[in-house]
């Protein structure tokens, strides 16, 4: 339904030109949520604005339902934009208009049928569960409520595609989840597609079907969300996922552990199997659990555990690790901070992690997985 072919965008500044988007191509299928992730300055914002021509690409094609948007006249483009909704990090509601008038705005641009517009507004407010706020002004709403109004507004003209520009980045985690669920519901019930840009891995992980990782204006890797998180291929993708994920606290934990620390990664069915107690019994070793987490990648559970194995039983440990490997567990030995070379992970945007003391990422030694 949407296809980008070799899109380029360069900005000319007094200091020289910046290639914001470099030769980007990807395809969004009907009914899917396509995530563009990357740190700030990666070109995500420019790219998403190229899709609805808020930024005119220098070259390349933006095919929306087979039609190249770059070739449309100004009037045709305005009409096409009704089929492409957009939501923003800071909601961008009209502050001097009520919730009703905000949602009615895109409808009033092209219709004078007041009764039909009112009916549609009520319908949309019901969908986003804000019927009681119809006469409120945006300043009277919470962040999450504002974004719900913005979503209702973006859905008003029954678009086929929604662009989300960091739609949950300004919201607290609990509210983010509600908004993401609402977007997922929009896709499922209204059969639309979403292209969303985010720097939050949690967001991509929670609702995206496909994910593309952007860096320096280019897509360095694209895959299904499962494929990307389970087997990131590009080293920068690995760094990005790790930097936004568990690796940093893990390296800190391992600094205090007396025994060797391993990270065990589970996917799918292995999450629910009692593997730890199984190897503990079978190989007669004591396993100490340090940390762990389970995430849901779409409908599949993915988890990891940080454990220590006793140093004085190398044979038993080796056997246990071999057993785990057989069960498709990804195994990685964690080396404490400072004892090996570390790679700088640019986590500047990841304010949620708030780990300002140490920005380095420790790479494990023997990666058996």
């Amino acid at each position: 339904m949407l296809e980008l072919r070799n899109v380029n965008k360069t900005f000319k500044t007094p200091e020289g030109s910046i290639e914001a988007v470099k030769d980007v191509s990807f395809t969004v299928e009907p009914g899917e949520i396509y995530g563009l992730i990357g740190l700030s300055g990666a070109g995500k914002s420019t790219l998403i604005r190229c899709i609805n021509m808020l930024e005119k690409p220098d070259s390349g094609q933006i095919l929306f339902e087979g039609e190249d948007l770059a070739l449309l006249s100004a009037k045709e483009l305005r009409q096409k934009r009704q089929q492409i909704g957009m939501i923003f990090q800071h909601f961008n509601l009209f502050e001097q208009k009520t919730v009703r008038d905000n949602i009615a705005f895109p409808l009033e641009l092209h219709s004078k049928d007041k009764a039909a517009i009112s009916k549609r507004v009520e319908e949309l407010l019901g969908f986003v569960e804000l019927t009681d706020k119809i006469n409120a002004y945006p300043s009277e709403l919470s962040g999450g409520q504002k974004q719900r109004v913005a979503i209702a507004r973006s859905l008003a003209t029954s678009p086929k595609l929604i662009l989300s520009d960091e739609g949950t980045s300004a919201l607290d985690p609990a509210t983010s989840i509600l908004i993401l669920d609402l977007l997922r519901r929009s896709v499922d019930e209204l059969k639309i597609s979403i292209v969303m840009i985010t720097h939050q891995m949690e967001v991509a992980r929670r609702i995206c079907d496909h994910v593309a990782v952007m860096e320096g204006g280019e897509i360095i890797e694209q895959n299904t969300v499962k494929g990307l998180f389970l087997e990131p291929k590009h080293p920068r993708t690995v760094a990005l996922i790790r930097s936004l994920d568990e690796e940093r606290p893990l390296s800190e934990i391992s600094a205090f552990a007396k025994d060797d620390v391993y990270r065990l990664g589970f996917a799918g069915g292995e999450v629910s199997r009692p593997l730890i107690s199984e190897i503990s019994r079978r190989f007669e070793i004591d396993i100490n659990l340090l940390a762990g987490d389970i995430n849901i990648l779409q409908d599949e559970q993915v988890g990891w555990l940080a454990v220590t194995f006793p140093k004085d039983e190398p044979k038993k440990v080796a056997a246990a690790l071999a057993f785990l490997q057989e069960k498709n567990v990804h195994i990685k030995k964690i080396v404490p901070n400072g004892s090996n070379t570390s790679e700088q992970a640019d986590g500047a945007e990841n304010d949620a992690a708030a780990d300002t003391s140490d920005d380095s990422e420790v790479r494990g030694g023997d990666n058996n997985g």
Binding site: R81, M86, L93, Q96, K97, F105, L109, P138, S139, R153
Partner: protein, 212 residues
């Protein structure tokens, strides 16, 4: 007493007519400045620069010079080259560039994001102006209009010097030249009350319609 009322009427006429014209012309100019500025919605470097220079030029001309230079224009437009009505021409001309700047600043305060959202919905530029920029900037526009009117009150008092009439004229002629300090005092008090009334009304209106 009758003199004061007549003077007040003259002031109100000068201020009213000039405010109306300066806002009617200055607001569209301000909008053009916003749209055509380098990072605006329709950047037009040439037009923007020409307007910018003209506005700065007019703002730097002393008001008294404007009165003299535009006396012929006033004659054409009002049939008089001096008097209360004639003075509304230089008063408007002095206020237009001021209004344009104030409106430009107010409209620029409408968030870039809000404009972007409107454009992303397929809003045309005329509708963007009438349904987004002006309504969203309205509280600031009213504040700007208030400041404009108060400035015109000040200028109109000065205009009295060359036979424009009004409270300023009365204060100078009767109060100063004829040594009637009480006339001067009354005229000044009336001006102060007028300015205060405009400011209070402007503030109240601006606050009443601001939903931020």
């Amino acid at each position: 007493m009758g003199d004061y009322i007549q003077a007040l009427n003259e002031t109100l006429l000068m201020v009213g007519v000039s405010s109306l014209f300066s806002i009617a012309i200055g607001l569209p100019l301000g909008i053009i400045l916003v749209l055509t500025q380098p990072n605006g919605i329709k950047p037009m470097a040439g037009l923007y620069r020409v307007l910018d220079i003209i506005i700065n030029l007019f703002r730097s001309l002393p008001f008294i010079i404007l009165i003299i230079v535009f006396a012929p224009l006033a004659l054409i437009l009002t049939g008089r080259s001096s008097g209360t009505l004639a003075l509304t021409v230089p008063l408007s001309l002095a206020a237009i560039p001021f209004v344009a700047r104030i409106m430009e600043t107010s409209i620029n305060e409408v968030g870039q994001g809000v404009v972007e959202a409107a454009l992303a919905m397929g809003t045309s530029i005329p509708k963007l102006i009438t349904r987004v920029l002006i309504p969203e900037a309205m509280p600031a526009l009213i504040q700007g209009a208030t400041t404009t009117i108060i400035n015109i009150v000040g200028y109109s008092a000065m205009a009295g010097v060359i036979g424009g009439g009004g409270l300023g004229d009365l204060a100078i002629r009767w109060g100063y030249y004829n040594r009637q300090p009480q006339s001067l005092l009354v005229a000044v008090i009336l001006i102060v009350i007028l300015v205060q009334a405009v400011q209070l009304a402007g503030n109240a209106l601006s606050r009443a319609i601001d939903h931020r």
